[in-house]
Amino acid sequence: METFETHSLTETYALGRELAGRFGAGDCVALVGALGAGKTALVRGVALGLGLRDERMVSSPTFVLAQEYPADVPVYHLDLYRLADAPTELETLGLDEMLSDGVALVEWADRAGAALPRPHWRIDIEITGRRSRRFRLSRVD
């Protein structure tokens, strides 16, 4: 497990860009953290790191459940916040198809139970101060 600390939104974007170098087509990244932890912000950084040009395209997918951003590989941004039966819904949303050509970043991934494909990346985000956050990156086999 690796731990990273950021002290501003800008640093969180930079961390996302840095981590993007480790992710490629077929990778599923589980994001776990409370409301306001910075999950969407980290995704913005990762998407930019993967080659997305327009950062304004990244927004919370809470309502639409899944968004796709055109980067060097397709970046799929999912959100399980509103799903009561997330494990079943992941299949409906087409996670398998997404992973055949792109990177999938899943917010509120803890709601998926054991339904995420293995191995996958997991990033736990902790609020450590008004602007500071701790990110723990691990591999779930």
């Binding site: 409301l35 306001g36 969407t40 309502f63 609020i127």
Partner: protein, 354 residues
Amino acid sequence: MIDGETILLGVETSCDETACALVADGRRVLSNAVATQIDLHARFGGVVPEIASRAHIEAINTVIDKALSDAAVRPEQISAVAVTREPGLIGSLLVGVMAAKTLAWTWRVPLVGVNHVYAHAYAAALDAEPIEYPAAALICSGGHTALYRCGGPLDLELLGTTIDDAAGEAFDKVASILRLGYPGGPVIDRLSRDANPQAVHFPRTLLAGQSLDFSFSGLKTAVLYHVNGVPGTVRRRSPAPAGKTGIENFSEREIADIAASFQQAVVDVLTIKLRRAARKIGARTLVLGGGVAANSALRTSVAALAEKLGCTLRLPPMRFCLDNGAMVAGLAYHSLRVGQVSDLALEARATVRR
């Protein structure tokens, strides 16, 4: 056709509502049938799409029948079938699109696919005078927060949108932090009426310069910090007994004040951005649409803005702010007139970007 009027049937299933309406000549609403799933979703604290699409399937035929019988219109009097094809929950959109295709094919009339957010920007024209253009339209709901320049019903230019949470989503998430239940908008609106909107100063994220984009994520986090404290820091002034944090330490009065202060921050940002947009495009009219347009504080604030700018304000009544089929049929009338029709290969699309 009845007496030379062109009647469209409009279907809307992009989110919580299964809706169907009949509209004559794009504005006269003959019927407006809506079946909502709000009660169903309230139990789960939000939208549950598998259930959502199943509920649409169960409700769609009844709702279409009701729209036809309420209007006392026979299928052969209908000139076209309109449907929301984007954006929304894909499983839900599909139900409406399939139903509309089936009707269009059976009745041998044109099919018109409509953008849900554009339809919201048109809702103010229903059962009312035509909108005077150019108009600045602010569309806010659970999934959308967007500002448009409208040169006509079909001529929309996106001026700004949220870069993180939608306004309605912020209402829902803050209601969840304050443990007020789902949906968050109506309950926060109600509590705020007798509360102090100046009790807590929450940030107004306006973004740089003359930006017309929105950001509500920081506001949500600020409410969270106010309630739970900031990890790693000591509260300067704790509203709760020393050392304790969490919503259970706040009185009902204090919770209402937090809700009102949050709502005020949202309303301030929406109003300021709408003002910028209206000035930028030289708007003659301000248009509101979407579920958040039902918020009473927003309606009051935007009414004051319109007066200051000398613009006409077009606020749709509640039934046309929420998702409905009439706005779909109304907008599609204009598409039909210029020959913008779809074929039966029309596909639903979950997300539309710019």
